[in-house]
Amino acid sequence: MDIFIQQIVNGLVLGSIYALVALGYTMVYGIMGLINFAHGEVVMIGALTALSVINKLAGSGLPGPVVVLAGLAVAVPVCMATGFIIERIAYRPLRHAPRLAPLITAIGVSILLQQVAMLFWGRNYHTFPAVLPSAPHQIFGAALTDVQIIIVLLAAATMSGLWLLVNRTRLGRAMRATSEHPAIASLMGVDVNRIIAFTFVLGSALAALAGVMVSANYSTAHYHMGFLLGLKAFTAAVLGGIGNLGGAMLGGVLLGIIESLGAGYIGDLTNFCWWSNHLPGGTGAGLCEQFGDRGFLGSNYKDIFAFFVLILVLVFRPSGLMGEKVAERA
């Protein structure tokens, strides 16, 4: 039971990060129908930029939280600028091109950013210095660090702010109008190009925050980290219903929990002895003897769960949990 609660807690932390990244995917998709596959790389740039600053300041005697905040304060504008530039030079010229063109461009931008990051930060893993308290609290039998608590709270606060921005402000109204009918929003005086640029910049700011969180959570960052993280966040966005903000938040948290539980139990689930102990009548006891009491797959196979979820969603509910029917958009 302790393992179960621990994995739920870990999943919530991970899911908060996925949700922040998934929001970037879903906002851009909602407003221009584009899957920005380079978004994961923006997270990576945010993480590495912040780490560079944090490592510089780590020995300076400043308090740890200040050091991390300084890293975040540099990473956010760097990512916002990156998002702005990507939209301006890679996607805007393709605004009216067939849909495959911007998609392939997105993959190209993703590769380009990875290579640039590799030149800049090298191939090494960069470690997050121990500037934050890491002694865990015990809550309901689960260990939880301050960093994890802050990740969940900060993600929740950021997402609430985003929700208010989109649903309660003039700018958010213009974003929703643009996402539905760009040409008519333009008739209403909305400068659609500015709204699209703003959407990229906003998504990139969330990506920077997620990048700092993920590197603090795993204590590491490297130039290749954006790829898998981006794919998982994309999966979360699809799970929730791409284009739907609430869906991205829900999908992110769900995916985090699924992955975490999967990592916790994959050893048992691929162990014949575990099955024979739990199935009525000890079914499979022979296989248990034959293969021994061990799981075939360890928690390093946790990544398969996200893609398992992606396949299930695409087969059984392509519009996602909270998405509308795909046909309505066409």
Binding site: R170, L187, G189
Partner: protein, 238 residues
């Protein structure tokens, strides 16, 4: 006729290799209601879209004396030129009131906007009843009312109306035209595109008949209503 609100010369619109509008001249006077009638595919909607800068066009478009043929589309509404597009174009996933607020997006003075909202609700009480509802849940007629209300929130000087009667039940068509008439009475210039030629000519001072991208007839509305060619082609004989 008073000084023209809109003066169009040699307007040509081509897209996808098709010449939809082949060089037309027309005018809309200040405070005047003018209609553009003609069969499906005559180029009426293309003309309006070109005026709203949604389609590339050549020729000169003088609006209140200034050339707007190089103006970006989102800058027109601030100059008082508003299009109510064919098919209404309400934002289905925004509430009725949010749709109306979008009409005033370019305006800054919150007090004035609140006044205008009250005026629109007075003119279209149905919208007030449904203000929190998503626009996509409204009936076709209500959506047309919303599109008109949204356009009014922009404080237009020239309103371009594209087929406001399309797809509506006869009773609703009459209501929509009552609203159009009351907008005209407030002094707003209107360029109306309609397939329902009789109705359009009844509310207009002048009319233009378009055929295959060209204007073939231009006259006072009452004379067009009596014209044998118009009666034959667009008013169902008699």
């Amino acid at each position: 006729m008073k000084a023209p609100m809109l003066a169009v010369k040699d307007l040509r619109v081509a897209y996808g290799g098709i010449q939809a509008v082949k060089g037309i001249d027309f005018e809309v006077g200040t405070g005047e209601t003018v209609c553009l009638i003609g069969a499906n595919g005559a180029g009426k909607t293309s003309t309006l879209k070109a005026l709203a800068r949604m389609l590339p066009a050549s020729g000169s478009i003088l609006y209140r004396g200034g050339d707007i043929s190089h103006c970006p589309p989102h800058a027109l509404i601030g100059q008082g030129l508003t299009l109510v597009p064919e098919g209404r174009g309400v934002f289905a996933r925004l509430s009725v009131e949010e749709n109306l607020d979008m009409g005033a997006y370019h305006r800054a003075a919150a007090a004035d906007i609140a006044d205008d909202l009250a005026r629109v609700y007075q003119l279209l009480p149905r919208l007030k009843e449904r203000r929190t509802q998503l626009a996509g849940t409204l009936s076709g007629g209500e959506q047309q009312m919303l599109a008109l209300g949204r356009a009014l929130m922009a404080r237009p000087q020239l309103l371009l109306l594209d087929e406001p009667s399309m797809g509506l039940a006869p009773l609703m068509v009459r209501k929509v035209f009552e609203v159009v008439h009351s907008i005209a009475e407030q002094g707003v210039s209107i360029l109306l595109v309609e397939q329902n030629a009789r109705l359009a000519l009844t509310v207009s001072a002048r009319g233009y008949v378009m055929e295959s991208g060209l204007i073939t007839l231009a006259d006072r509305a009452d004379r067009l209503l009596g014209d044998s060619r118009v009666r034959q082609a667009y008013l169902g004989g008699e």
